[in-house]
Amino acid sequence: MHKKLLAYIKASRSMLALTIVLGMLGAIATIAQIALLSEIVNAVFLLHRGLAQVLVPLALLMGALTLRASLLWGREVTAQRAAIRLKSSLRERVFAHLLQLGPAWSSGERTGELAAVISEGIERLDAYIGRYLPQLVLSVVVPLLIIVVILPVDWFSAVLLLFTGPVIPLLMALVGSNTSKRTRAQWATLSLMSAHFLDVMQGLTTLKVFGRSQAQQERIALISDRFRDKTLQVLRYAFLSGAVLEFMTLTAIGVIATMLGVRLLNNGISFDSAFFILLLTPEFYRPLQELGVQRHAAMEGAASAKRIFEILETPLATGVEPAVEESFPTGPITIDISALSYTYPRKEQPALDGVSLQLAANTCTALVGRSGAGKSTLVNLLMRFMDATSGTIRANGVPITALSPHRWREYVALVPQRPYLFYGTVRENIRLARPEASDDEVTHAATLAGVTALIDELPRGFDTQVGEQGMQLSAGQAQRVAIARAILKNTPILILDEPTSCLDPDSEARIRQSLTSLMRDRTVLVIAHRYNTIAQADRIVVLEDGRIVEADTRDALTLSAHARLLGTVSTSEVSEGSIERHTAPHSSAYASAD
């Protein structure tokens, strides 16, 4: 998985390289600093020089210090820039891929989780890119550099360092690998514990209704205690690797100091060399210590990367884009669906099984069926959100796969069951359908959709901000906006998915006129549960378990078909106001301001 991440690093390659270079230069500055300090101390301590005589090395020392600090600053900046570049690149790719996967895929996933991955999950790669990766390189290069520097001064110490160097990470790895699995399991339990607390808080009302809320208090304490004990058990092992590293590093320093001391006593080495080596020794171990510190945060970031790759590697449901695109002449379009089948991935039963149907030009066909019968699958296929497993859809004889999905959709307008209002003005939301449309055209479409009166009541009319962060419109109002969009788009093919399901009978009657005129002179497919809507269709098709069981004109339908229809038609017509929540959050029973 690291390899995959590394493949994406291209975006930040130059910045990362710069970070590493700056790190190395910093190490060189440090070495210079230490050399100068040794020289000064030696001069004053053993050679009994005065302040005036060491002014030059002192000045140089200050220079080295300042340089080192500036390099540190530069390194932080470049590291962050490298991280930012990677995050941006990854973010855009994931989002683009998600858009391509389309509603067919994302409806099966939790939007909240996906959004969290893209916005927050990617952020966690900061530590991995900006700190861990450069440190990986530096923790090899810098110690080697130090050994190279020490070698001419005192080969003995250099060899000692060379041997102790790798031993420490090896020991760490040994102790570490043992505990990492346990640690991971423990962190998993940690998130379960927080989830439990959140669960209890969210279900507090339910607990109170059943008189169990007091008992929960003790349970929270109990769970926390139990968790604490288990965690500490794991931490005892987890911290061990850090303790080992620390112990070995400090002991190594101690041993080296002692050896230097003994050799000094025997005049085997000069003071300034010994002092130089003593000061340099901690710098030898420091990069590896840093690496250990950053590993945890880096691994967390890498974990979120897993999910990102999962998404990026999900194959697209639509086929390859055609090399040369055809286009349809303007005019009425007949849709021929033949032997259309589709099975969702990881499912056994086909959602659509050999459906053959013709939507004649400028006619209205109603599609009826239970939930799960395959209606939305058919819509998804017609909209080319997915491509069929087998069978074809042709428009005026041309298979719709001859066009790219993007171009095909220019010929189709969709009024979905739960239209989404984007964060923007009402006008912008309607204009979504055709960005080049003029204000007058937008207003006209709105009038036809019967939504103008409503918009006029909004604080800023057409310029009112709506959507998730703006004014929340009711489901019924959103539906009318969606109808306005379809009117504005003015395409030869129109698909309506329960266009009036959220409207109370009053509003429905009002826009029936506009709907009727909208459906005229177009090839229309209407999915309906309301008999009123079906009544207008030229043809009614009944879908059950992915197959057509009845397809006929309204007049010719038999009694049994009517009975079937009645079974699927909603009986709840008394103002659907209480379902006029625009998005469907999972709120508690007592949350609605009813």
């Binding site: 600093q33 301590f45 009994h48 302040l51 060491v54 002192l58 080192r68 600090a69 540190l72 600053w73 932080e76 900046v77 590291a79 962050q80 930012i84 989002f95 683009a96 998600l98 858009l99 391509q100 939007t111 916005s119 379960l192 607390f197 959140l198 669960d199 209890v200 279900g203 507090l204 339910t206 109170k208 209704v209 059943f210 007091q214 911290f239 590093t249 400090l250 320093i253 100091a257 002692t258 001391g261 000094l264 006593l265 003071f271 939930s371 189709v412 239209p419 989404y420 998730e468 009978p505 309301r530 008999y531 709840s572 106001g577 999972h586 709120s587 007592y590 949350a591 609605s592 301001a593």
Partner: protein
């Protein structure tokens, strides 16, 4: 400041552990400072060529300091994490105790997911107030004083200079950094929120995005948000870099200054030359104490903001207060009558009344339906009956007695509720059922499952009742959730039952199927039936039509139809769908 003291109060029960941890933290730093100091002394002393035996103490210390440091650090980490986890437990229990009486709070649940999740996250953040904020600050202080003390042995001048540098690095740099990045923190939060909104918007509306070919626009929108975030982050990186660089520079400059000051002192033999190197290393090693202070200050700001949010929610007064001497509810084999007498209710003063002059009686064994358009205040009636809120005026009586003096838990034991949304806990199916009656036996559970017509569902689950459900478990469909709610109601077997739009979120077919289970549940039980779908109204003993909080019509189904008022209207519209002509 007040928030900070309040926050510290949480640490009070843990003070001995904290003291131990701080002690260990100090020992840890003292040992490493000593190690480096001793090593420098050892080298310098050896350079003067004394007898090896004179160096034996420094050698010994230098070897053992490593163990002391590693051990003290290890133990300190364990003690600190122990303390932190205990703190978290205390915080959670405290928060729960304060918030429990408030539920279902209007604000808390209304924009639920977000607010609640943030509350839980804030509480989790607060656990770090000890580990990341208090501990580093106290240890830094201790070590600064220790360093001051050590340098005083050499010269008071050196001691003060050392302290000054430590203070500048420990206090000055974080302050500078905070000043430079003022507003940036908020900007970053805003940029992240904007990015998240953009992503959520695009994903939730993906069908419309694709249908109208706006993919490119969405991508560009995302890129713009991303760039904005990048800009803020780059500026923050500059400041963070400056912070590290300054810290490093101060540490090295401290050493530089002290060396410069010490050199003349060595010349005049005020300080023995042997100690020159020691001075350098001592000051360098002591800076480890002030390094974590910058993030500690940031953490402090963060913790205070989180604490303010948590206190704001926890301090809200509970809407209903149980009487100081709650009366037990007398068991009445003859049954219970619940009555509303001239009840008025407003959520917030100044808002329009949600319920106006509601009076009705729910007598033992009778079924009363409350119907009407949404926004009429119907669910509020349930909340009042359960005493989640008190009426603004008027009283609610149980068997003629005002319900306010009663013990809340016993009162709620009398009422079973099946509501529109059923909350399912992250637990086994059995646990979710036992919620209704923890002492229920196997047979009773099976019976309840049977009556709610859940048996088939349970049978096809590989782990049966042990299957984990809820947010992180098996997802149940709308119909299945409502059946669970019905099973709970069966188990609870309360004398009064309230159905609050029990089938509102279900499609027609599922609703139809559920009605049988509901019929069985309401058989012979006192039921309040709140709905806007007029199904089975013929079986109601009384129907109240609520419009904008007031009862506008009341009577039996036939009576109301005859009146040809609002009820008739609603009924006709509903029926109209089914006519074929």
């Amino acid at each position: 400041m007040k928030t900070f003291t309040r926050l510290l109060a949480f640490l009070s029960p843990l003070r001995w552990r904290i003291a131990l941890a701080i002690l260990l933290g100090s020992v840890m730093l003292v040992s490493s400072i000593s190690l480096f100091g001793m090593a420098a002394y050892l080298i310098a002393a050896a350079a003067l060529g004394p007898l090896l035996v004179l160096l034996s103490i420094p050698i010994y210390l230098v070897q053992t300091m490593g163990i002391v440091r590693a051990t003290s650090r290890y133990v300190e980490r364990l003690v600190s994490h122990n303390t932190t986890l205990r703190l978290l437990a205390h915080l959670r229990v405290w928060a729960y105790k304060r918030i429990e009486p408030q539920a279902p709070a209007h604000l808390l649940v209304h924009r639920s997911g977000d607010l609640l999740a943030r509350l839980v996250a804030d509480i989790e953040d607060l656990q770090n107030v000890y580990l990341r904020v208090v501990s580093p600050m106290v240890v830094a202080l201790v070590i600064s004083l220790f360093t001051f003390g050590i340098f005083s042995i050499f010269s008071p001048e050196l001691a003060w200079v050392a302290l000054a540098f430590l203070a500048t690095a420990g206090l000055g740099v974080p302050c500078l950094s905070a000043w430079l990045s003022r507003g940036l923190g908020k900007q970053q939060v805003a940029a992240r929120a904007a990015l998240n909104t953009q992503v959520v918007d695009g994903l939730q509306g993906i069908q419309d995005v694709l249908a109208f070919g706006r993919s490119q626009a969405q991508l560009e929108g995302l890129a713009a948000c991303d760039r904005a975030l990048g800009r803020v982050q780059r500026r923050m990186a500059t400041i963070t870099g400056l912070q590290s660089a300054l810290g490093d520079l101060l540490m090295n400059t401290a050493m530089w200054v002290l060396i410069i000051l010490a050199i003349p002192m060595v010349a005049t033999r005020y300080i023995d030359g042997v100690y020159l190197g020691v001075i350098g290393l001592l000051i360098l090693a002591s800076f480890e104490a002030v390094q974590p202070l910058a993030p500690a200050f940031q953490g402090l700001g963060h913790s205070l903001t989180a604490a303010e949010r948590v206190f704001a929610v926890a301090d809200a007064p509970p809407p209903v207060v149980e009487s100081d001497t709650p009366q037990p509810v007398q068991v009445n084999p003859g049954g219970y009558t619940l009555s509303f007498e001239q009840v008025h209710f407003t959520y917030l003063p100044g808002e329009r009344e949600v319920l106006s002059d509601i009076s009705f009686e729910l007598r033992q064994g009778l079924r009363v339906a409350i119907v009407g358009p949404s926004g009429a205040g119907k669910s509020t009636l349930v909340r009042l009956a359960l005493r989640f809120r008190d009426p603004t005026s008027g009283i609610i009586c149980l068997n003629g007695q005002d319900i306010r003096p009663y013990n809340l838990r016993e009162l709620r034991e009398l009422v079973g509720v099946v509501a529109q949304d059923t909350y399912i806990f992250n637990d086994t199916l059995r646990a979710n059922l036992l919620l209704a009656r923890p002492q229920a036996g196997e047979a009773e559970i099976e019976a309840a499952v049977e009556q709610a017509q859940l048996t088939e569902f349970v049978r096809q689950l590989p782990q049966g009742l042990k299957t984990r459900v809820g947010e992180l478990g098996l997802q149940m469909s709308g119909g299945e959730r409502q059946r669970l709610a019905i099973a709970r109601a069966f188990l609870k077997n309360a004398p009064i039952l309230m159905l609050d739009e029990a089938t509102a979120n279900l499609d027609a077919l599922t609703e139809r199927a559920l009605l049988d289970a509901l019929d069985e549940l309401t058989l012979g039980r006192t039921t309040l039936h709140i709905t806007h779908r007029l199904l089975g109204m013929e079986r109601m003993h009384e129907i109240l039509v609520l419009e904008r909080g007031s009862i506008v019509e009341r009577g039996t189904h036939e009576e109301l139809l005859a009146v040809e008022g609002l009820y008739r209207q609603l009924f006709d519209v509903q029926q109209g769908v089914l006519t074929l002509s």
